[in-house]
């Protein structure tokens, strides 16, 4: 705190301008930055990157806001499998309605279901993509992500809306605008500086391997569908992400089982409450288990076996569900990196899924 006395004279405040030709320097800077930027753009394209939209909270909010206009629409929620593997064009062609894609990567869809359940007018169909490890996640990033998206939507300001449309204008033109892979921080990560042995932090997330359009139709990139090296890299990232962290409390297997059941019960109770609210307003909820393969499927079977998780969702909520392993036509798809279908396969998968959904619709279940 300055302890000197103050001065209240009215005076002309002026700022010092360093003696340079600032207009000339600004032009020279503009020129050099343009040169660097276009060189960087060409380099990124030479690596196989193409202009794509970033899957931002703004993009999500721009879809979520449409429920306010038409609360009877079909809504897709879930994690990245729902985002990649569900072809909205096929669905629209066959079912006569364009769904809203609100699934987000690495997400527990519970908060999205709750948001729809608490919407005073929503009475559409909700198709919930279930990845058991995420659906039953009690907290952490799978819960933080949807809560952050919902908060962002609730506070979505006029300036953010304008910024979103300006951002999309640039993202459609420049390949280097890629928040998954090409930010300065992502580039620094590529130096692969090893960490301390005892250091503990969240496992690595996969690199850029999907693209998304304005309606949030996601899909695996062609590179990811073909590049075996990239696929193997992503596969190795899924293993720690889908393996539960070590038990700190050193519980016995029976204690651990009881704890897992207790947490699952809590999730199911909440889910049932939300489903009931939607159904009470005339809406429908259907759960879908999309394909996974390889070692990842083994991990899922080990830690989130069907009987204790998927079956219980349908049982508790009394909702219809489609598990890819229950239908011959949905079996046998190959997930290049174990967790998602390629773009072409997602179209084929949705085509095969539609007759099952139509049957459910004819029975009045969706």
């Amino acid at each position: 705190m300055p302890s000197s006395t103050s001065s209240f004279k009215t005076y002309q405040l002026e700022r010092i301008i360093p003696k340079h030709h600032w207009a000339t320097l600004a032009l020279a800077t503009l020129l050099s930055v343009s040169l660097l930027t276009f060189s960087w753009e060409f380099y990124c394209r030479s690596l196989g990157y193409a202009p794509t939209l970033n899957d931002t909270k703004d993009l999500w909010a721009s879809r979520r806001v449409l429920i306010e206009k038409d609360p009877t629409r079909t809504v897709l929620i879930g994690a990245s499998r729902m985002l990649f593997d569900f072809d909205m064009d096929v669905y629209e062609k066959e079912m006569g309605e364009r769904p809203l894609q609100l699934a987000t990567v690495g997400t527990n869809p519970g908060p999205y279901l709750e948001d729809l359940a608490n919407h005073p007018k929503f009475s559409g169909t909700v198709i919930v993509g279930v990845v058991p490890g995420l659906f039953f996640a009690p907290g952490g990033p799978p819960m933080k992500s949807p809560l952050d998206h919902l908060k962002y939507f609730q506070d979505w300001s006029p300036s953010q809306k304008v910024g979103h449309y300006l951002g999309m204008f640039l993202e459609r033109r420049f390949a280097f605008i890629n928040q998954e892979d090409l930010t300065l921080n992502q580039l620094l990560l590529s130096f692969k500086i090893s960490n301390r042995e005892k250091a503990k932090f969240h496992p690595e997330l996969p690199p850029y391997f999907y693209k998304i359009d304005e309606e949030r139709q996601g899909g695996m990139t062609d590179i990811a569908a073909q590049d075996i090296k990239l696929q193997k890299r992503i596969q190795q990232i899924w293993i720690p992400l889908f393996t539960p962290p070590p038990d700190k409390k050193k519980m016995s297997p029976s204690e651990k089982k009881a704890q897992v059941k207790k947490m699952a019960d809590m999730v199911l109770e909440k889910t049932k409450k939300n489903v009931d609210k939607i159904v009470a307003r005339g809406g429908k909820v259907v759960f879908i288990r999309l394909p996974s393969t390889g070692q990842l499927r083994e991990i899922e079977n080990k830690y989130t076996p069907r009987a204790g998780f998927w079956d219980r969702i349908l049982e508790e909520t009394q909702s219809p569900g489609v598990h890819f392993e229950d239908f011959d036509q949905l079996k046998g798809f190959n997930c290049p990196e174990w967790s998602h279908l390629s773009k072409g396969d997602s179209t084929e998968f949705t085509k095969r899924l539609i007759p099952i959904l139509k049957k459910l619709r004819n029975k009045g279940k969706i």
């Binding site: 705190m1 302890s3 005076y11 304008v162 300006l166 300065l184 503990k200």
Partner: protein, 474 residues
């Protein structure tokens, strides 16, 4: 609207185009005023009404004060302004805090009372513009300044968009004279303004958000047991650098934007991490707030005119209120109390050891500077921690040398924090006795272009999302 957003770039281009194509000065000011309302409304439109209310009340209070001679009436008029401005601030910023403490106090006394949780949205920048309008009325009340003759000028003073939501807190005596004559930046002023905007954005987007926020968030967000001492220190250093780059970045952008429009705003930061002592620190950190607190609070309490004890009490009271200004939480009060204690201790030490010759040597000054930085960093623990238990956990981790505690940070982040903090400290010591303008003047033109290009290209590579500036919440 955030400076680091694409919508601001579009907005700024439109404002600049209109500002320099319209000839009439009155029309230019009117456009700036409307642009400022749009700037504010782009965040949450209804809250513009608060701005209008504050503007109209202080305009009429000041007008009435000018001609009023009766002491009682003058006091009533001043009370109206204080009540409106501090009332708005109190309701929106401290409402929940007061209710929470009231309920806590009743429960402590054994009275079972639960209040319905209020949901009050804090209007962005309310602490800044209420302090700005208050200073105007107080200056008129104390007859230190004359009221503005033009409502347009006064409304623009309250609302001028570059500094509206996070300062610098401008005095009417600094701003209103600038409204009298047409303001047009020269080419060099405009170019220098653009350089300032780039520098501010670089500080915010690349350094604060890109390089520092992750380490700071990880360490301050950890609640599960003690933290390894190195990680704890890097987290605290990361936040110390982040809060500077974030806030100084905003002020630098604000000064640059205003300069492009031909207006001058005062400095808000002057190499604070090279401060030697806390009195020096507060002359360098958030200068427009510290001078506001000095002029309208500390001096009003008696300043240093009533002996050592009263001076120390006044310092402490001022810093406690300064702490609370930053946020409605006891941790901010603790931060203010800590800085108050630093100032009190420094005052006493100066009286006893001020004449020591070693204090004036280069090594002595550098050592005292580093001690000041160390103590400032400890203060940031309370400023950033979400509650006292987190603050104590981090404090104990900072001084736990047993080698235990969780290692939270990846090596890359440790390197980023170290490089930025060392670079920041070096730049502050380099600019300790001189202004940035003078330093830049001595740089060859090619070097300026290289620095400018690096900052701009860094911004492009960072592709930062439009994250809000930390000080918006205050």
């Amino acid at each position: 609207m955030l400076f680091n957003s694409l919508s601001f770039i579009l907005f700024f281009l439109i404002v600049i185009t209109l500002h320099y194509t319209i000839r009439s000065w009155k029309a230019q000011k009117t456009i700036l005023l409307f642009a400022s309302y749009i700037f504010y409304a782009a965040w949450n439109p209804p809250f513009v009404i608060l701005l209008w209310f504050s503007t109209v009340v202080d305009w009429y209070v000041a007008k009435s004060l000018e001609n009023e001679e009766k002491v009682v009436t003058r006091r009533i008029l001043l009370s109206v302004s204080l009540l409106v401005n501090l009332g708005l601030l109190g309701f929106f910023k401290y409402g929940e805090f007061l209710l929470e403490n009231f309920v806590g106090a009743l429960n402590f006394l054994g009275i079972d009372f639960q209040a319905a949780a209020p949901s009050i949205i804090l209007p962005v920048g309310i602490s800044f513009y209420t302090f700005q309008t208050l200073s105007y009325t107080l200056d008129i009340y104390f007859r230190r300044a004359k009221p503005s003759k033009s409502f347009l000028d006064f409304a623009l003073y309250v609302t001028f968009f570059p500094q509206l939501v996070a300062g610098p807190i401008v005095r009417a005596t600094e701003f209103l004279p600038q409204c009298e004559e047409p303001r047009r930046a020269t080419r060099d002023q405009f170019g220098w303004g653009l350089y300032f905007i780039t520098l501010g954005l670089f500080q915010k987007v690349v350094l604060a958000d890109g390089m520092l926020s992750s380490a700071s968030d990880t360490v301050f967000g950890h609640t599960d047991g003690s933290i390894f001492v190195l990680d704890a220190w890097l987290g605290v250093l990361a936040f110390s650098a982040q809060i500077f780059c974030d806030f100084a970045g905003y002020s630098t952008c604000a000064i640059g934007v205003a300069l492009c429009l031909g207006f001058a705003l005062p400095d808000n930061f002057r190499s604070p991490y090279a401060a030697i002592g806390f009195s020096d620190f507060w002359k360098r950190w958030h200068m427009t707030l510290s001078t506001w607190l000095r002029d309208y609070l500390y001096i009003s309490l008696g300043g240093n005119r009533h002996g050592t004890f009263r001076t120390l009490v006044n310092l402490m009271v001022t810093m406690l209120i300064g702490g609370l200004w930053h946020g409605a939480s006891w941790t901010f009060v603790a931060w203010g109390a800590l800085h108050g204690s630093y100032l009190v201790a420094e005052h006493l030490l100066r009286q006893k050891f001020g004449g020591c010759s070693w204090v004036k040597t280069v090594l002595g000054r550098f050592s005292l500077g580093m001690l000041t930085f160390f103590l400032v960093c400890l203060g940031w623990v309370f400023f950033r921690a979400k509650d006292f238990s987190s603050a104590w956990l981090l404090m104990s981790s900072l001084f736990s040398f047993s080698g235990t505690g969780v290692q939270l940070l990846p090596t890359l982040e440790m390197m980023q924090v170290t490089v930025v903090v060392v670079g920041l400290l070096a730049s502050h010591w380099y600019l300790h006795e001189k202004r940035l303008e003078h330093a830049m003047q001595n740089f060859p033109a090619w070097l300026v272009v290289v620095i400018w290009t690096s900052m701009l290209f860094g911004l492009i590579l960072m592709q930062g999302g439009a994250n809000a500036f930390i000080y918006f919440q205050f």
